[in-house]
Amino acid sequence: MLEQIFVSAKHWLVDLAPSQWQPIFSALISVVALLLVFPSLFALTTVLERKGLGRIQNRYGPNRVGPWGLLQPAADGLKALTKEDLIPRAADHWMHLLAPLVLVVPAFLALAVLPMGRNLVAVDLDAGVLFFFAVGAATELSVFMAGWSSRNKYSLLGAMRAIAQMISYEVPLILSAATVIMVASSLSTVQIVEAQAGYAGWLPQWYVLTPWGFAGFILFLIAATAESNRSPFDLPEGESELIAGYYTEYSGFKFALFFLGEYLGMFATSGLAITLFLGGWHAPLPFLEWIPSYAWFFGKMLGLICLFIWVRGTLPRLRMDQLMNFAWKFMLPMALLNILVAGIWRLMPPGWSRWLVCGIAVIGPYVFLGRALIEHKSYARRSYRYAE
């Protein structure tokens, strides 16, 4: 009952409309729900990120606005709205204006195919995962538009780096999703979640708890971090190098829109990671099923967001050539091998033999490739100093 509360509310609202307008009304309600939930999640994430990063860096995060700094997004929003909107005189006016929109609209579109609970998907497409990657690919054009229209060498350089990074990491992203599509034999997100239902004893039958699924999950998360231009892959927006990269010349609300678009991309890819590998809205243990399904989905999403923030605070930035080497020489072969291992898993009979074979087939090449690609340098001894 608690679980289907949103579905019943939507049915009640749709029944209020005259019968010929009902499909449009139903679509409008889904859209409005998405537009309310995810920007508020974005606001929560900005506070969480700044507090989390502050704690990792041994300082407090924002703590002046509201209890524990929780009203900071409101202050940030007010600041972004009231700042003067500067456009450089030489800038290409229309492209400069359209670039944030071209970033935000596909990010919202991608959220429409994620199943956020039982029966809680905005659009149930037959080719849902393909739609997700298609609109994800459309965001790269906005990065180029932002960088080029600013007529600024730093912006252009940042945009070129960002696009090269995004198209390089798109290949392992799609390939690691292809393993799940192969095993679940469907491109529809709802069916992929349903294929991970059920429990083998106490353990859930999620794909992350298989050798190829675990490797695919790690590859997907690394590629998702690179797609959102987050640290350690944030060379395009490296503050110490390129001022702000491709959004140097943006101020005020458009800057806030860029941040919104980037974080929405992060939410969308973590939502897809949850759908493909972590069992969607399913509970991890059979006796925890009384907690509603949407709570599990958003709980897992918060967990992944905290993981992204943790990685951002911990790892240093990768250099451009290290980044490209990693994508093409390590992640692409691993993703291709993962497809092979998923095929072997699917065709072998269940039991310890397939765990052994698939485990060796994943760990062996990982160790071998990792050692073969290391450039042997000797590093100085690390020293730590804590703030007193």
Binding site: M95, L125, D126, A127, L130, F131, F133, A134, V135, G136, A137, A138, E140, L141, F144, M145, W148, K153, L156, L157, M160, R161, I163, A164, I167, E170, S185, S186, L187, S188, M320, D321
Partner: protein, 184 residues
Amino acid sequence: MTLSFLFLSILIISGAITAMTLRNLVHCALALTLTFAGLAGIYLELNAQFIGFAQILIYIGAVAILLVFAILLTRGSEPPTQSAFSGSWVWGVAVAVVVFGVIASVIFSSRVLPGMAPQISRPSVRQIGDALMTRFVLPLEVLGLLLTAALIGGVIIALRDKTELETSQSSDITTQPSSHSQRP
């Protein structure tokens, strides 16, 4: 003629004409992207869902970005020194008008065309996958080979060989180094 078809076709035609007539190359590439998006909308309207999404993924997500990179790597964003259209552009436009006239007259004078009735089924992705693996498996493998050949060939063609690099560096000492030349 439904309203969506009219809107999408206006979008497509205006995007195509803009792409072919503008002087600024980057604007041409972006107008082309608009055309691709309109075409994807028409494919979705014609019940070809898989192809619509594949169109967005391949054309907007890859070909348009490739075009933009090529424009930037060949200094296309600087203002052109000569006219954008070649001297004999009248003949090119005349040929295109004649081609369009011929095809349009064939369309309107056909006796077979008006009799075709619309089919309502929408092929599921599973049907497309089955067809790819059973009836069209040979074209699929050949396409894989073609894509591999294009990948390797493209990299080899666009690769800077070392001798060319040394001669170009020694001869253009006075030209300003471009900010987006070697390392992307």
